[in-house]
C-alpha cells in the first residue's frame, strides 16, 4: 500500500513538473533552454542524416552499384583515409547537384529570396507530417515562411529555434493551403488525409476539371505566395446533391526524398488572427 502510494506520488510529482514546463513553454519562456538543448541534438541529427542519406543512396540506386563496385576495387588499394575522403566528396557532389537544380529554380523566380537548408530529421510523431531543417532563427528564418523545392511547394515554417526549424508539410492533415486549378481557374482548398492522400475540397460544382490539370497556390489568405506548383489532378468526384466537388491530386514534390529545401525568406505571410493588425 505504502509502495503504491509512493509510486503514485512520484508519478504525480513528475506530471506536475511537466505541467509547469508546458505552461512555461506556451508562454515562450522556455525558448532559450530549448535552443540550448537543441544545438547538440541538431548537430547529431545532421551528422547521422548525412550518413544515412549516403547509405540509402548506395542501397536504393541499383544502376550505380556496378560502377561503385569498380570504384571500391580500385579504392581498396589505397588507404582507409582516402576512401573516407572519396565517399565524402561523392556526397558533396550529390549535394552540389541538388543545389545546382535549386539555384536554377531560384534564378527563374528572381522576385523571391531563398535560403537553402538541409533536411535533418522528421517528426517523431507518426501522426504529424513535418520535417526539421538545419536552419533556424540564427539564419533569419521566421515562422510562416514558405518552403519549396524546384518541383514545387513543400510546406511552411511552423516553429523556429536557434539552429533549426520545423516545416509542416503539405501532407500534414492540419495543413490547409488555398490553391487554384490552372486551366479551369477554380479555387479550392487542399485537404490532406492521414493516409497520405491529398484531396482538393470546396471546388465549385460548375468547374470543369480535367485529369492531369496542374494545381498551383492561389495566394488567397496571404499564407503562401501565388503560382507555386502543388500537384496534378489524378481523379475527381462530383455528386449532384453536394455543394462542392472534390479531387485527388498527386503532389509534384516527392516528400519521401527531401534532402535539401529552399526557404523563401522574402515572403512575409499575412496574419489574420484576431488582434494582429
Amino acid at each position: 500500500m505504502t509502495r503504491n502510494l509512493s509510486r503514485t506520488l512520484f508519478a504525480v510529482t513528475l506530471l506536475l513538473l511537466l505541467a509547469g514546463l508546458f505552461l512555461l513553454s506556451q508562454a515562450g519562456l522556455l525558448r532559450p533552454v530549448e535552443n540550448l538543448a537543441l544545438r547538440p541534438l541538431v548537430a547529431a541529427q545532421q551528422w547521422i542524416s548525412l550518413r544515412f542519406a549516403a547509405v540509402r543512396e548506395l542501397v536504393t540506386s541499383p544502376r550505380d552499384i556496378a560502377a561503385l563496385r569498380q570504384e571500391i576495387a580500385v579504392l581498396q588499394a589505397e588507404n582507409a583515409g582516402l576512401q573516407r575522403e572519396i565517399i565524402s566528396l561523392r556526397e558533396q557532389v550529390a549535394e552540389a547537384e541538388i543545389l545546382a537544380i535549386l539555384v536554377n529554380y531560384a534564378r527563374t523566380q528572381p522576385e523571391n529570396r531563398y535560403l537553402a537548408a538541409d533536411v535533418i530529421g522528421r517528426d517523431v510523431s507518426p501522426y504529424l507530417r513535418s520535417i526539421l531543417i538545419g536552419r533556424g532563427s540564427d539564419d533569419g528564418i521566421l515562422r510562416g515562411m514558405p518552403v519549396v523545392t524546384d518541383r514545387g511547394l513543400v510546406g511552411r515554417v511552423v516553429e523556429v529555434f536557434g539552429p533549426s526549424a520545423r516545416i509542416q508539410l503539405l501532407t500534414d492533415p492540419a495543413s490547409a493551403v488555398n490553391v487554384r486549378l490552372q486551366t479551369s481557374r477554380a479555387d479550392a482548398v487542399l485537404a490532406p488525409q492521414l493516409n497520405g492522400e491529398l484531396w482538393l475540397d470546396l471546388i465549385p460544382q460548375d468547374a470543369e476539371l480535367s485529369v492531369g490539370e496542374l494545381v498551383l497556390t492561389s495566394g488567397l489568405g496571404g499564407g503562401y505566395p501565388p503560382d507555386i506548383p502543388v500537384g496534378q489532378v489524378i481523379s475527381t468526384r462530383k455528386r449532384d446533391f453536394e455543394l462542392f466537388q472534390q479531387a485527388v491530386i498527386q503532389p509534384t514534390v516527392d516528400f519521401e526524398r527531401l534532402e535539401i529545401v529552399l526557404v523563401i525568406t522574402s515572403f512575409r505571410p499575412l496574419s489574420i488572427e484576431p488582434g494582429n493588425p
Partner: protein
C-alpha cells in the same frame, strides 16, 4: 547512475527515431525506441528511474516533434508508472509476458497521443490512424520488445551488479 547513462542514451534513441526510423516505416508505423527503453528499464524493477527515463526521453522527443512541449513526456511517465504498478504481479512468471506489457504500453501511448492531438484541434480519422499507425507501430514494438528488455536487463546488471554476501 542510471539517469547519467539514461540522458545520452535517450537522446541517441530520440535522434535515431527522428532521422532513420522515420524513414523505415511499415505503412505509417515505426518503432518507438524511447518507449521500448522506458518499458525495458521498468521491467528491471527500477520503477523510479523508469518514470524519470519517460520524463527525459519524452522531453527529447517533444523537442524533435510538433507535439505540444511536454505532451509525449506526460505519456511516457504514465507508461513508466503503468509498468511500475504491474511489476512483480504478472510477468516474472513467464519470459514472454513483457510482450503483453509492451502491447499495453504501445496502445496506451498511441491512444493518448491521438487523444492529445484531437484535443489541440487536429482532425484525425481514428480508423485510418489505427490501421496505418497504431497497429503497425505496435507490431514493430512487439518485434523489438524482447531484445529491448534483454538489453535493459544487461545494462541494469552492468550498472548495478547483484550484491553477493560472503
Amino acid at each position: 547512475m542510471a539517469i547519467i547513462v539514461g540522458i545520452p542514451l535517450l537522446a541517441i534513441l530520440a535522434i535515431l527515431q527522428s532521422t532513420i526510423l522515420s524513414q523505415l516505416r511499415l505503412l505509417d508505423g515505426r518503432p518507438d525506441l524511447v518507449l521500448l527503453a522506458v518499458v525495458g528499464w521498468g521491467m528491471t524493477g527500477r520503477w523510479r528511474e523508469s518514470m524519470i527515463w519517460g520524463f527525459i526521453g519524452g522531453l527529447f522527443l517533444d523537442l524533435l516533434s510538433g507535439m505540444p512541449f511536454g505532451a509525449t513526456a506526460v505519456l511516457l511517465v504514465l507508461v513508466g508508472a503503468m509498468v511500475s504498478f504491474w511489476f512483480g504481479r504478472f510477468w516474472e512468471a513467464h519470459f514472454l509476458l513483457p510482450l503483453g506489457v509492451t502491447l499495453a504500453a504501445s496502445l496506451l501511448l498511441h491512444g493518448l497521443s491521438l487523444a492529445a492531438l484531437v484535443l489541440i484541434g487536429h482532425e484525425i480519422d481514428p480508423l485510418t490512424a489505427v490501421a496505418r499507425v497504431v497497429l503497425p507501430s505496435t507490431f514493430l514494438n512487439l518485434l523489438l520488445a524482447i531484445p529491448a528488455s534483454e538489453l535493459a536487463s544487461s545494462l541494469s546488471q552492468a550498472l548495478f551488479p547483484p550484491q553477493v554476501r560472503a
